[in-house]
C-alpha cells in the first residue's frame, strides 16, 4: 500500500512540473502585449514601455519562469497585471464561490444519481428502467446553460424565490449566499447526475452478473443485502473515477454557467484573464487547477485501494 501511494505521489510531482513548463511556454508564445492592451490605442509608446517595465515584462524568459516557480512554492503567486492585487487573493476570493458551488453540485448530483442508478439496475428491463434511461438521455443532451436560463426565468423572475444571479458574499449571511448558489448548483448538477446515474447503472449491472453475486443469492441473502454488501462496493471504482473527473470540471469548467449567473468564480477569472492578457493570473490559476485535478485523481487512486483490497498488496 505504501509503495503504491509513494509511486502515485511521484507521478503527481512530475506531472505538476511538466504542466508548469508547458503552461508558461504556451502563454509566452501567444501574441498580444498586456501593457498595450491595458493602455488602449491612444497611449503613447513611452507610456506602454513604462508599464511593461513596471510589470517586469522586459526580463528574460528563463529568469521569469524561475522567479514564478520559486514564488509559487513559497505561496507568492505574483501580482495580477490588470488588477494589481496579489494573485493568491484573487484566487481565494473566487474559490470562496467556486468551491462551495462545486461541492454543492457534486453532492446534489451524487444524491440524485446513485439511488437512481441503483433503482434502475435493480429493475433492469422493466418500464421503470426504460423511463430512467430516457430521462438521463434527456439530461445529458440538454445544454446546461439553456437549462440555467430556464431556471432563472421560472424561479427568479416569475416566482422571485431566489436572485437571478450574482453572489452577495458570505458576509451577507449563509441564507442569502446559499440562495444565490442554488440555481447554478442545480443547473450544473442535473446533467452531471444524468451521466453518473448511467455509469452507476452499468457498473452495477456488470457486477451483478458475477459468480459471487449468484453465490450470495444462492446462500439465501435477500436482494437488498446482496446489493448493499457485495455489489455496490465493487461497482464503485468506475463511479469514483467519474466523480473525480466531475469535481475537476465543476471547479473550473463552469465558465458558461458563471456567465449566465454572473458569478465571480474561478472559470470566469481565467477567461477574463486570457482576454486581458493577464498572463500571471492565467499561469497561476491553470497550474493550480492542474494541481487540483492531479491531487483529486491521486485521492481517487487511494480510494480505489480502499474499495479494492487487491490493489493494496501491489
Amino acid at each position: 500500500m505504501l509503495s503504491y501511494a509513494l509511486r502515485r505521489i511521484l507521478i503527481v510531482v512530475v506531472t505538476l512540473l511538466a504542466a508548469s513548463v508547458i503552461v508558461f511556454a504556451v502563454l509566452e508564445i501567444v501574441p498580444g502585449d498586456p501593457a498595450r492592451l491595458m493602455l488602449g490605442i491612444n497611449a503613447t509608446e513611452d507610456a506602454v514601455a513604462a508599464l511593461r517595465q513596471q510589470m517586469g515584462l522586459d526580463q528574460p524568459l528563463v529568469l521569469r519562469y524561475f522567479e514564478w516557480i520559486g514564488g509559487m512554492l513559497t505561496g507568492d503567486f505574483g501580482r495580477s497585471y490588470t488588477y494589481s492585487v496579489p494573485v493568491i487573493d484573487l484566487i481565494r476570493e473566487r474559490l470562496v464561490v467556486s468551491l462551495p458551488l462545486a461541492l454543492m453540485a457534486l453532492a446534489l448530483s451524487t444524491i440524485i444519481a446513485i439511488p437512481v442508478g441503483i433503482f434502475s439496475a435493480a429493475r433492469r428491463g422493466t418500464a421503470a428502467d426504460t423511463g430512467v434511461m430516457a430521462a438521463t438521455q434527456l439530461g445529458i443532451a440538454i445544454p446546461n446553460f439553456w437549462f440555467a436560463i430556464l431556471l432563472v426565468y421560472v424561479f427568479a423572475i416569475a416566482l422571485r424565490l431566489v436572485p437571478a444571479g450574482g453572489f452577495p458574499g458570505w458576509d451577507a449571511g449563509i441564507g442569502a449566499a446559499l440562495s444565490a448558489l442554488v440555481l447554478p448548483a442545480i443547473a450544473l448538477a442535473l446533467p452531471q447526475a444524468a451521466i453518473l446515474a448511467r455509469v452507476t447503472r452499468s457498473a452495477l449491472l456488470d457486477v451483478l452478473g458475477e459468480d459471487y453475486i449468484r453465490t450470495a443469492r444462492a446462500k439465501g441473502l435477500p436482494a437488498r443485502v446482496v446489493l448493499r454488501r457485495h455489489a455496490l462496493r465493487n461497482a464503485l471504482i468506475p463511479v469514483l473515477t467519474i466523480l473525480g473527473l466531475q469535481f475537476a470540471f465543476l471547479l473550473a469548467g463552469t465558465i458558461i454557467i458563471e456567465n449566465v449567473f454572473y458569478l465571480p468564480g474561478l472559470g470566469r477569472l481565467v477567461f477574463q484573464a486570457i482576454t486581458q492578457r493577464d498572463l500571471i493570473v492565467v499561469e497561476s490559476v491553470v497550474v493550480l487547477l492542474v494541481a487540483t485535478v492531479v491531487i483529486v485523481n491521486f485521492l481517487v487512486d487511494l480510494a480505489y485501494a480502499w474499495a479494492d483490497p487487491r490493489l493494496r498488496r501491489r
Binding site: 490605442i41 491612444n42 497611449a43 503613447t44 488588477y83 449566465v260 454572473y262
Partner: protein, 494 residues
C-alpha cells in the same frame, strides 16, 4: 427581490410609514455595467469601465463634461485665459477635501498635471497634456498653467477622466482604493462581482440624493435581461443586448431611453496599401455601403448613420451621409475607372464585439455585390491591437472609436489609417489656435467635410446608448458625450 419572510415585515413597515408622515424617497441604487474595470485609477488605464464608476462620482478634474457634452467648471470655480492663449489661470473652490480628510490645494493640481505628463507616466492619454509647458501654484487656491502652443481644446481635455486631480498621498494606491474629491466615497470592490460607493458627507458641492450605490458587472445579454426583470438591479445605463430592448419598451415598470455615444463605428481602411490608396476605390466602397441595412442587422435597428468621423449629438456636426450615397452601379463604375472592372480580393479583420462581427458579415455581402471579395478574419483584441493598430497589417477592419471628439486622429501621420492630408492638418492646427466657439465649430465642420470627401474610411454608424432603468428613477444621462455614469443628479421619485 422580495423573499417570503420579508413580505410581512415590509408590510408592517409600510403601514408604519404611511401613518406617520410623508414617504421618504429611496436612497439606494444598484446599477450594472457590462465590463468590469481592471482597476479604479482613471489616470493609469484606458478602460472606459473605470470612468463608468469613478468619473464625477469619486474623482473630479478642473473642468468636467456635462450630459450634453459642454465643458463645465468642476474643481476650478473660474478661469481666465491670456490673450495669446498660452496662460491659463484657474481659481479653485475653497474648502474642498479629499476622501481621506486632506484638503485640496493648488499643489495637488500641479502634482496631478506633472504626474500625468512625466516621462515615466503610464497615463493612457498622455497626448492630452503634451501642450503643457509648466504648471505652478500661485497660491493655495490659484494654479497657473503655461502652454507651449495654444490649444483650443485644452479646457475640454482637462475634463477627461484621465485628467482628474489626485493627491500625492494617495496617488499610488488609487488603483485599489481610489481617494478623490467627488460626492461619493469608495467603499469596497469585490473583484468579479461588484463595487460599492457611499455618499460623501463632507462634499464641497451640491449634495447628492443617493446614499449608497452598488455597481454590478454583467456582460452576458441574457443575464442582463434577467437581472433587470427580476429586480436585482434597478438600472443598466448601457444595456448590452439590443435584441432584448423590445421586451422592456412596453413594460410600464421600465424607462427605455435610446441615446447616442461618442462611438463612431467605421470601416477602417488602410489608405497606404493598394488598392485603397486610390480615391476612386475608396469612393466605390462608400457607394457600396447601405448603412441602414448594417444598423438593422448588427444592432437591431438602434444606431444613427454617420457620414464622417463625428458624433451626431455634437452641435458642430454636419450631415454628410449623402456625400457618397448608396449606389452599387456607381460603385462598379468607379472600380472600373480605377482599373478594377472585375473587383479585387481583400481581407476584413474583425475584433470581438458583436457590432463588428455581425456588421462585418453584412459589409462583406454588400461589397461582394460590387465585386470586392472580402475574406473575413476574426481576431481577438490583443491581436487587433498588435496586427491592425500597431503594425498596420490589414486591408479593412471594423472598429468603434469611442474617445470623445477624436477627429484629430486624422492629422496623425503614424496612425493606422495611413492618411496624410496637408489641408486637414492645417485645419487642425487652426483649431488648436482658436478658443472662439463659433470659429471652432466652423473649423470642425471643414474638418468633417475633408475626411468625408476623401472617403478616408467607410463611415458606418454611431453606437447607440441603450439605457434601461426603473421608471421611478431620474437623473441618469441620456447620451454618452464622455464615458461616465455620473450619478450626481440621480434620484428616486417615489
Amino acid at each position: 427581490m422580495i423573499s417570503k419572510t420579508s413580505t410581512p415585515l415590509a408590510g408592517a413597515a409600510l403601514a408604519l410609514a404611511l401613518t406617520t408622515s410623508a414617504f421618504a424617497a429611496r436612497t439606494d441604487l444598484t446599477l450594472a455595467i457590462q465590463l468590469e474595470p481592471p482597476h479604479l485609477d482613471p489616470t493609469a488605464g484606458a478602460a472606459g469601465a473605470i470612468d463608468d464608476i469613478v468619473y464625477q462620482n469619486i474623482f473630479q478634474g478642473l473642468t468636467r463634461i456635462g450630459p450634453d457634452g459642454a465643458v463645465l467648471p468642476s474643481l476650478a470655480e473660474s478661469w481666465s485665459v491670456s490673450d495669446d492663449g498660452l496662460t491659463y489661470t484657474f481659481k479653485l473652490h475653497d474648502g474642498v477635501k479629499f476622501h481621506d480628510g486632506t484638503s485640496l490645494d493648488a499643489g495637488d493640481v500641479v502634482f496631478s498635471l506633472d504626474r500625468a505628463r512625466a516621462d515615466e507616466s503610464t497615463n493612457a492619454q498622455k497626448a492630452l497634456f503634451s501642450a503643457i509647458a509648466g504648471a505652478e501654484a500661485v497660491d493655495d487656491l490659484t494654479v497657473k498653467v503655461t502652454l507651449s502652443h495654444p490649444q483650443g481644446s485644452f479646457l475640454y481635455n482637462l475634463g477627461w477622466g484621465d485628467a482628474v486631480i489626485v493627491a500625492p498621498e494617495s496617488a499610488d494606491t488609487n488603483k485599489e482604493k481610489p481617494i478623490g474629491t467627488g460626492p461619493f466615497k469608495f467603499v469596497d470592490w469585490a473583484q468579479g462581482s461588484s463595487a460599492t460607493l457611499e455618499k460623501n458627507a463632507d462634499y464641497w458641492g451640491d449634495p447628492v440624493a443617493l446614499d449608497k450605490v452598488t455597481y454590478r458587472f454583467i456582460s452576458d445579454p441574457a443575464a442582463a435581461t434577467a437581472a433587470l426583470l427580476a429586480g436585482d438591479i434597478q438600472a443598466f445605463p448601457s444595456f448590452p443586448a439590443p435584441e432584448a430592448v423590445a421586451q422592456f419598451e412596453g413594460d410600464p415598470r421600465f424607462s427605455v431611453v435610446i441615446g447616442s455615444t461618442e462611438g463612431e463605428t467605421i470601416l477602417s481602411t488602410n489608405n497606404g496599401k493598394e488598392p485603397f490608396d486610390k480615391l476612386e476605390v475608396r469612393q466605390a466602397i462608400a457607394h457600396a455601403l447601405d448603412r441602414q441595412a448594417i444598423i438593422d442587422g448588427a444592432l437591431f435597428g438602434f444606431g444613427t448613420p454617420i457620414g464622417t468621423h463625428f458624433a451626431p449629438h455634437n452641435p458642430a456636426y454636419v450631415e454628410l451621409v449623402e456625400t457618397y450615397p448608396y449606389d452599387p452601379e456607381k460603385s462598379k463604375a468607379l472600380l472600373a475607372e480605377a482599373g478594377y472592372p472585375d473587383g479585387f480580393k481583400a481581407t476584413l479583420k474583425l475584433p470581438p464585439p458583436a457590432y463588428a462581427r455581425r456588421g462585418g458579415e453584412i459589409v462583406a455581402a454588400q461589397l461582394r455585390d460590387v465585386g470586392i471579395d472580402l475574406e473575413i478574419i476574426p481576431v481577438e483584441w490583443a491581436q487587433w491591437l498588435d496586427q491592425v493598430f500597431k503594425q498596420k497589417d490589414y486591408d479593412l477592419t471594423i472598429i468603434s472609436h469611442t474617445e470623445p471628439n477624436d477627429i484629430g486622429i486624422y492629422a496623425r501621420d503614424d496612425y493606422y489609417f495611413d492618411y496624410h492630408s496637408d489641408e486637414f492638418k492645417q485645419v487642425m492646427a487652426d483649431l488648436d489656435a482658436t478658443t472662439d466657439e463659433d470659429k471652432r465649430y466652423e473649423l470642425l465642420r471643414q474638418a468633417q467635410e475633408i475626411i468625408a470627401n476623401d472617403a478616408v474610411n467607410g463611415y458606418l454608424f454611431e453606437l447607440p446608448k441603450l439605457g434601461i432603468w426603473d421608471a421611478k428613477l431620474e437623473g441618469l444621462w441620456h447620451n454618452l458625450p464622455i464615458q461616465s455614469d455620473d450619478l450626481s443628479a440621480v434620484h428616486w421619485t417615489d
